[in-house]
Structures are given as structure tokens and as C-alpha cells.
Symmetry: C2
Subunit: 172 residues, 2 copies
């Protein structure tokens, strides 16, 4: 219980510090979500390097996603993702019904407006992990009722970009 | 191995962020050791509240120090303090022969000048934990060869202050 708390408390302190910098008008470094997201990205990159040190090569993108849902999520948040879905057009949705970084906030919809700053770090975390596994992607998060959280992953694979290109060609 | 790494990586990011703020001339929020130390203090306060939820009341100050060396240190750094010493005049020295927050730096004396910023957080951590256990104290750290670290704790107990007062009286 308390074992994983040091990470969580430190994460809260970081949010407070960054938003305090923003309030004091330090626009260059503080305040925006992207600072937190970039921090998360670098932490994700480092973590995934350690985690995959002795694992076999991944078969495909879905295999990588399963690794993120199980091993990676357990390493950081001490539980697995509860549900992984894909629309088979390249978008993945990871659902965590009790997301640890939101578990200290009051459950329900009351503090929903504060959710984004508690999700930015974890979005970056996933983006960084995936990028070091060769999957460049856009990662966003969505909360409708705390502490459940959905993470959307849209990989920017070369295939997909080609698809988009072709469909544009068809349109013209 | 990788399980505890998320805390460590986040800690490194925080140091980088705070020192980048300092370099850009944001003197109000960034840069000095005390920012990191204060962060550590609040994290320590939070952690010790969780950790002591179900423990019995401590007998005395030494009992509290033993708790910090064993349970508290293990919770954050995944190992116990290697050696606890006291001069029986109220000063405690906690020696960790392989301090986790220094373990990513090159061992030896080469990067000794960078040690202070990697120690500030843990000093605050101990100060915060002790203050919530009723021991107000001054906490400093000392490194002579990485990754070994000595943490010095000087409690500001009322008795001691009285002692100092009396000894001053004797002197005059």
C-alpha cells in the first residue's frame, strides 16, 4: 500500500510545482500540460529500456500494446489495464477502472476539471514507452467518472500515413 | 529491478526541470536546493502518515530513528540503512552504502560536485518524516565516495535546547 506511494506523492508535488510556476507568470517553463507530458515521455523511454532488457522481440503492434497493458502498466501503477480494445483501424483504447494517479482525488464527477493535469504525465509515459518500441503515436486520455480512465493510442505508422495519403488521392 | 525505477526516473526529471528553471533566470521558483528539499519534506510527511497507520506508539527518539532506518527507508529506497550511529549527544548518522538516488551516477569521486542536488530531496524526505513523528530536526547529507551516503540528523528537541541553554549559563 505505502510501497508505491512515494512515486504518487512525488508526482503530486511535481504537478503543484509546475502549476505554481505557471501562476507566477513563468511562461517559458511552467504551467502547460506539455511540460508534464514531456517529463512522462522521458520517464517512459527509460523505463521501457529496463523492462524489455530480457524480453523476446515483439511479433506485431498488438503484441506491443499487450506488453504496455500488462508489464509496463504493472511496473508503474502496480496493476494491469482492465480492458484493451481496438477498432481494427489502428486505434487502441486502454481502460483502467481504478487509475492510481486519480485515486487520491474524490471519486465521481466533482473535480473532473482537474483531471487533465493528473493525466498528462501518464499520457507521456505511454507515448515514450511506445516510441522506444518503434511505435510513434498520439496518446490522449479521457475521464468521465473518477477514478476510471481511458487512454487512447493512435499510432502514426507509415502504413497508416500512406493510407491517409491514398484516401486523399481518391478524394481529389 | 525496474519496479522501483519509475520513482527514480521521475526524481531525475524533477532535478533537471528545477535546474533548467534556475538557468533561465527564474529565481523565485527554480534552482536552489531548498525547492527540492521542501518537495521531499512534503512527500516524507505524507509517506510517514501512511506507514505508521497501524504501528504501535514509539518508545523514544531512538525507536523513531530505527523505524526511519528500516521501514521508512525500505519503503522509498527498497533497502534498509546499512549503519545507524549516534554520538549519544543527540546526533544520529545514517549510512547507506549504496544509496539508490546516486546509483545512476558514475561511482567514485568524479561527479562529486553534482551530489548535492541528488541528496536534497532525500534530506527533505527524512526531515518531513521525522517532523510528523514529533522530532523537529536539521537533516544534512554527506558523500565522500559515490554511491555511499551519510545522512546526519540533529534533532531540535526541547530538552536539547534547554541543555544548550544551561551550558551557556555555565560558560558565562
Amino acid at each position: 500500500m505505502a510501497d508505491e506511494a512515494s512515486f504518487q506523492f512525488l508526482h503530486n508535488e511535481v504537478i503543484q510545482y509546475i502549476y505554481k510556476s505557471a501562476d507566477s507568470g513563468d511562461t517559458e517553463h511552467g504551467g502547460d500540460i506539455s511540460t508534464l507530458e514531456n517529463m512522462g515521455c522521458r520517464v517512459g523511454q527509460g523505463l521501457v529500456e529496463r523492462l524489455t532488457k530480457d524480453t523476446a522481440r515483439f511479433k506485431d503492434e498488438l503484441d506491443i500494446m499487450k506488453f504496455v497493458c500488462k508489464d509496463f502498466w504493472t511496473c508503474v501503477f502496480k496493476k494491469q489495464i482492465d480492458n484493451l480494445r481496438t477498432n481494427h483501424q489502428g486505434i487502441y483504447v486502454l481502460q483502467d477502472n481504478k487509475f492510481r494517479l486519480l485515486s487520491q482525488l474524490s471519486a465521481g464527477k466533482q473535480y473532473l476539471e482537474h483531471a487533465p493535469k493528473y493525466l498528462a504525465f501518464s499520457c507521456g509515459l505511454v507515448r515514450g514507452a511506445l516510441s522506444n518500441l518503434g511505435v510513434k503515436s498520439i496518446v490522449t486520455a479521457e475521464v468521465s467518472v473518477m477514478p476510471a480512465c481511458k487512454t487512447h493510442i493512435t499510432p502514426l505508422s507509415s502504413n497508416q500515413r500512406q493510407d491517409t495519403f491514398y484516401s486523399f488521392q481518391y478524394l481529389s
